[in-house]
Symmetry: C2
Subunit: 382 residues, 2 copies
């Protein structure tokens, strides 16, 4: 298997690293945050603008795309890139996380998972093989295996059961990919699970690392556990994964979690947080999140974050953005989305520069001291 990842530089102060991920639709410099476009659109922003910010790898979701627009449409349009006018890379989450969140509407068997559509109640079945096949139709540049993601505080025996199933499904996913041969163009990543039990995490990390996957993801973190538990299990799991392959932590997107992951040698991550927060009127700044509707913004002629290169910061003021959110104007969500995605992209640039200069740990410390120090202002909304 030809490696899709090469390390550019290992930080001298931590396990952080910069690298290049080579995929079907071009290269991605890492560490890289991936904007989430669940249904083939990153909410509130044109794909052209996502690209212009500097992103070349976004997410889609296999489960959601299978339900809407469905495989007939995706096949007819020749895949998601063409359908959604995105010529960068696409990683598709397998949908395991979403299906297992459908409590009451799904039934898990060793063969796969039966579930009902939350949209129209129709019945469907996903096997590890079928999930690979669907991602072939989508045309994913990175495809994820079907996994069983478990919540915190389940028993060891429950965790063990899900862990075994996930490993078995990983093997079947590889087999299906190999059966498809040249028809399957994506890079299939394995997913480490094991809940919050270290022996399961270790064994999963080592096994998935050794399997014929070009990349390894860490699933089942940031699922409601405390930050210190996240940190502990992130560091522990990352240490058990080969450094030869790209490493992906699923579902993290706040600056503190991202920097924590980078420090542990993680290369890519995704989360809806940046875009969802934006639509609700909260934006990232170097001084912590800013709630735009707050009255203290009303007369503020300054940008959301001084120095930021996005359209919201270069053309508009905090006062205008506040007005848009007070009036529920679409442009508010559009501008805040562009800002938050620009902010995270620029944070990755800063992190890469710090790694290249062997100063990631002091960079992270200084950044977080400022980011976490600002107390939310207490004034009430007007």
């Amino acid at each position: 298997m030809k490696s899709i990842f090469s390390t550019l530089h290992n930080d001298g102060t931590s396990k952080a690293r910069t690298g290049i991920l080579s995929l079907g639709h071009g290269q991605v410099l890492t560490p890289a945050f991936m904007p989430v476009g669940t249904l083939g659109t990153v909410k509130g922003i044109y794909h052209d603008d996502v690209k212009r910010i500097g992103y070349n790898l976004i997410l889609g979701n296999t489960f959601h795309l299978y339900l809407r627009p469905g495989l007939e449409v995706l096949e007819h349009f020749g895949g998601l890139h063409n359908f959604s006018h995105w010529d960068g890379n696409i990683l598709t989450d397998s949908g395991g996380f979403q299906i297992f969140s459908l409590s009451g509407l799904r039934k898990i068997t060793p063969e796969g998972v039966h579930f009902q559509s939350p949209i129209d109640g129709s019945r469907h079945f996903f096997s590890p093989e079928k999930v690979v096949d669907i991602q072939k139709v989508i045309g994913s540049d990175i495809a994820m295996v079907l996994d069983w993601c478990t919540p915190p505080q389940i028993s060891y025996s429950e965790a063990l059961k899900a862990w075994k199933m996930t490993l078995d499904w990983a093997r079947r996913s590889i087999n299906r990919r190999d059966e498809l041969g040249g028809e399957f163009h994506g890079q299939l990543f394995g997913i480490v699970q094991g809940n919050f039990y270290k022996d399961l995490r270790r064994e999963s990390a080592r096994t998935i690392s050794d399997m014929d996957f070009p990349g390894v993801a860490i699933g089942g973190l940031s699922v409601g556990e405390k930050p210190e538990v996240f940190e502990e299990f992130l560091a522990f799991t990352a240490d058990e994964i080969t450094r030869e392959k790209p490493r992906y932590v699923m579902g993290i997107g706040s600056p503190d979690y991202l920097l924590q992951a980078i420090e542990n040698g993680i290369d890519i991550f995704d989360c809806v947080l940046a875009t969802r927060m934006a639509r609700n009127g909260t934006v990232f700044t170097d001084d912590g999140p800013l709630v735009l509707k707050r009255s203290f913004n009303a007369l503020d002629t300054g940008p959301l974050n001084p120095g930021c290169t996005c359209r919201a910061c270069t053309e508009y003021s905090r006062g205008y953005l506040r007005h848009l959110f007070k009036c529920n104007e679409m442009l508010g969500g559009m501008l805040a989305t562009e800002h938050n995605l620009t902010y995270l992209h620029n944070l990755m640039l800063r992190a890469r520069e710090a790694i290249a200069q062997d100063r990631f740990v002091p960079f992270k410390k200084a950044y977080l001291e400022r980011y976490m120090a600002a107390k939310p202002k207490q004034e009430d909304d007007r």
Copy 2:
């Protein structure tokens, strides 16, 4: 008074004309449709993109902007252009139409109108003078006088009362503008009213034409009357207005009504229709309005309207747009808005070309035959 309007060409087949409107933020070629940005943003689109389409004159609303963000904010930011990052022209509607729609929440006196804010119930008073003052703060390039817009089917005596008040308010508006002198940079337009009584319409049109207004608007049409009544009163009223000044019909935005107005020598018009329809998933095409959610669009790889120059038509398909609206994705409204505004702008370009070539009437006939012929497809939604 220096004229702000010059006619370029009078059509040889109708009263239609092309012209140039010279305003504080540049020239506007007419006939011109004006996108509506009630609260300082055209809903669902960046001002940059409104400009890029070719628009140089958009609407704001005095009543709404007075309530939110309010005069303190607008004054602090040096007016609406600066606040909203729009360097083209702004016409502000006086808010008369909105206030008179607040039935139960307003009280009309000869002095002005008392009303309660529909947002927080606070009490306010608008006089003709105050409305001029507010538009000074907004920095409107075209300001509208406070008028009393009446619904169809009121009695002659009611219509007469509103008509008299509107004329009196027009005089007071001019006086206030003249008192402000150099402090008031906008062009104050008068508004013809008179309900659906021809003698009132005629008298209003002649009087407003003769007053010291650089432009004349026709209000109180397209307020629920039948299309043939609209046509009759539009033609009748337009004929009574001087052709020396720019003529504006308020609140029309469908292709058939726009072409009807142009044929009668109207130069500018505005309506929320294009942008509201777009957010609800209906787009203009040469074959009539297209409802995007309809199932027959699902596999359609073609553009919304072949030949259209907008982003939705050049980069995306009907099938993708349908998917976005089925999933309530923001991008659907964003793309459809850009399309509908582009469509109307291009319709104006076609109308201007037809006028320049003395073939407006055949152009209108051929256009409407195709636009009105297409029956909505009957297939049910999926």
